[in-house]
Subunit: 235 residues, 6 copies
């Protein structure tokens, strides 16, 4: 089995974090490749960044289909271009946001999302609504930090993360917390010990779910939302 | 007042249909420009098509900001890249899908959407859910025709449109019907007469709402979902 | 085109505020008439007030149909008797609440409503639910002032409005704020500057949307929720 | 204990049906008065009819407060003016629609509503949404008959009622059926035998629930949705 | 008429509280039996406790069917095993939670639930969601006390209950408060006086609703959610 | 890693089917034990059956905690007693229904459930609502066969399954179909080929997801819905 974990931005730091997290948990008989896209923004902090990165992500997913991969994971907690990627792919494509939500549903009544900056709270709420999961989400709270800063200032992330998580638990009735940024990868275990609730790291959670589902031959549906695109004339 | 009506695909036929529809209804003192994007697929029939067209749409919206336009309308009934476009724009950007929904809410208990091909039913249902309007939508029914065919075979569209609309009204409790494809522009009036319910043409409905809202100086919010993107490093 | 903006209460102060607000924004070729009902409560602060005012509003809407108006706007942010008015009218009737909601949907992820007194919070929440828009509304907060006081004590409204709006933005994730009372008409621009988010004045927003939709000949559906009432025997 | 069962229309036939139904089931120690309003439409088939009848219903409810009644039931399956009536009343006021819904929730997964004419399907769906009960309602189907005809042509009601109920059960997953018109009072038992599912007669179900709740001294809340109206100046 | 009020735990204190509450309000011509199950946990504070108690509750409900009871009330505010009990019973079975919710819907826009310990907040939110009533519930707040302590320390319950209820009213927009624990039976009247909103005691509210519905012969549906179980082989 | 796959009924046939399905897909380094409960109904076709089986399931889950298992899967597509089992377990417990839903969310816009008998349609709809997934479920359709018959009459299941699945796809907009009965295990691949959409077999899908999540050390939250039960006195 061959799985591509694709970082849909161009940050080496984030790609490295993803790589370390995934390789630590991958089954031995799986051929895991962790890559980033060739061109695009260093990190994705807006729909705009995502829009510009998606054509390069599409290219990578097309190649993964040709190169015999069995599944692709898009490893940024915003699932950029996920519908387009599923459309043009015969092999399954999974986002770390949707997978983290699917896992969280199994672990408690409601989950909350720790995100980067204030405006991302609205973005996450929209994603949750798009996925039809509003009544299982207890809200979103922002660290007030950018993606790069999160990847670099571990101390600040942990301190604010604990503070915000406590409010999510006590005020919002969260039972599960999702680390909503790929650059937080690797912080979840320590927070979990401190807080006593599951803290999900979307990258590894997604990786292991996908490893399992792909072993079964599970694929996404190609008859509706993700139907194969028709050929278009192009100018 | 200067409004850009932007066709986010490269079809001359569709652009022309939009132009005729809009110019017929525009107020005299408004400077309306109808354009298509420079490069991209001829029509948008998938998220994939949209993903590839969006960078070119972004370019046009950025230019519209620089050229002194007061508002931009994205004239394809899938609102491609709409969040990204609102993020990078200081002037208001509106999609014809979201505007048609907002108008339909005022005209009856539930609206149904006439779409192109079967798989688009799922796409539209997802859009409705993303916008939080599920309890006002009575469903989607597909003509089983592509965008180009719809623009060309008027007779077939009308016949099937009437047939499907009758089922929407009788079986689904639709009270308002939205012509869910820009290439249907111009067919709504005749259907309206035959069926006796409002048949909304998203392009003109959007245009007139935007003309009004822009005259008031209404703009979209820039603090949450559509916050201005931060500068990113780019590789 | 001839539009009736109908104040469904008998306050001269409120009618005058509406008149000034509308005339400032109306297109030159539109014949706008701003009127109040002949009898009824000075202001509408309860369903009870609305119930007593509605027969007089009906009378006015019937007359507007006979007098050749093209559309009617009910200019109180509670849309009193709106379903009955749409039923008995062949020309379109719009409420300022429903129209403000429809506009707010286009401008941000969630909107909040600034209302008069505490108990109105429940009333607004019920309206939002009736219209199926719960997942787009970030809540309601009350000034703790009556309609008349709001119309008269501009300073207090502004100060409290800013304070409450800040809480809506920071605590409730509101991105758009609706001034939920016709007597607040005229306060929105200043608040908008201070707060940096769209502050919608329902009367003018509704007026411009209606001006546009009516120019297109858009009418409400008469087959379901707003079907023409059958003649009844009367005792 | 003294309960007023108020028919908010002026039909003697319907009032008589209500009276017979209620008196058959009332506890012996309760003083039940069944009355109709003094002026108004013979039956209520639209929001318009309701709007005209409500001021007369208000009058009756005010009198009931003064005359020492302990509770009022509004016995038309559209709960006309119910919010206004609860506002101006210190004694509890109940509608037969809301009470039938509350009872139906206890008896099966989903309930369906048998209504009069096609357009009423939309009206009922709106009511269900206003009350927040959409996920418990399996739909509405119309007899295609007016209120008076329903009260008079028992045979036709039963035949069509059985036919429609079978479709509600088999196609819509209804487990409970509500006879959605006061003039159907008295038909439920026979249908229940034929169909093998609970067929709720809103008038009697409401009456017995109210008898019970009133004996306990239960009253509606007066702090939010139904707060006491402030005095208004009147012109 | 003969009604069994069944305490699905083995606490004599709670059973006695239920008995006193019910006997005070029962109609004279009703034969009310208040009993507890024969074996099981003293109180039910978890799904685990409920799971162990349910087989004994089933036994009692089966016996009630044989002994000629007309209805059974399960008098613990968690409705333990309620679906199973309705399945195996021909006579109606009602839970005090579901009935309290049904009553609360009639009394205000939203209801809140006062519960025992913090973790029960999630449990109640899940129940509300299961019953499809999320948009009518303004939340749950916990006393931080166990069932037995609640039954014994009246002073503490009242003090904390008042404090929490005030927050429910002011912060959560609750209009009705449900005393969510059978051992709180008897505290509601005093709180109601202090707080000025309806405080529902589920046991008595349920009892009177059931008394009324049973007098009418209302039964639950046996075709779907509560269909009679097929015989099974048993090992 | 040691996983217990627990059949919460006493059917050898079903246990054997589960065993074959799971062993075929288990990773080599996992110690999988497939067992049934010691006493209880042969199959679970009602909440009543589940209620009687749950105490025996609890016993097994407690033992699994003591015997050093790392996770438990409850392998009946009704997740019987799942909340109680999660409460009393420190190791994670997963149901095949909830896991199949979580997987289905990743594969298409909406999923439908193929169930046994007609009345189970309501049961499944309630489960979906309890889990907050209503807007992602396109409905339930029943084979009209019991659990045992489904396990035995492969031909009939396939034929009816194909027929019903076609209706789910065409009429209900299903994109993914869940084989909603453990005794259907093994039928999914053939249906998948015929129908061209993902047909999920809950047992194997759950097994592989759990294998992955457990390898990561993911556990359910113990602070809210699944908090550890307090000790109770027992009579």
């Amino acid at each position: 089995m061959k799985i591509l974990v694709l970082n849909p931005n161009t940050s080496d730091m984030v790609t490295e974090k993803i790589k370390q997290a995934v390789l630590k948990v991958a089954a031995q008989d799986v051929d895991v490749v962790v890559e980033k896209i060739e061109h695009g923004p260093e990190v994705l902090e807006s729909y705009y960044d995502e829009a510009l990165a998606t054509p390069y992500t599409i290219k990578k997913v097309k190649e993964a289909n040709e190169k015999g991969f069995d599944a692709v994971i898009i490893a940024a907690f915003c699932d950029p271009g996920i519908e387009a990627l599923k459309e043009i792919s015969d092999i399954p494509v999974y986002g770390t946001e949707e997978c983290a939500f699917s896992a969280a549903l199994l672990l408690g009544n409601k989950f909350s999302i720790l995100t980067e900056k204030k405006h991302k709270e609205s973005v996450k709420l929209q994603h949750v609504r798009k996925l039809g999961l509003e009544s299982r989400c207890s809200g979103v709270r922002a660290l007030g930090m950018g993606v790069v800063e999160i990847g670099e200032d571990e101390q600040k992330v942990k301190q604010r993360g604990i503070e915000l998580s406590r409010r999510m638990i006590e005020e919002d009735n969260a039972e599960v917390i999702i680390m909503g940024c790929a650059s937080m990868a690797g912080y979840s275990q320590e927070l979990e010990k401190t807080l006593g609730v599951p803290i999900l790291d979307p990258v590894t959670v997604t990786y292991k779910m996908v490893e399992g589902l792909t072993a079964l031959g599970v694929k996404h549906s190609k008859i509706g939302l993700f139907a194969k695109p028709a050929e278009q004339k192009w100018i």
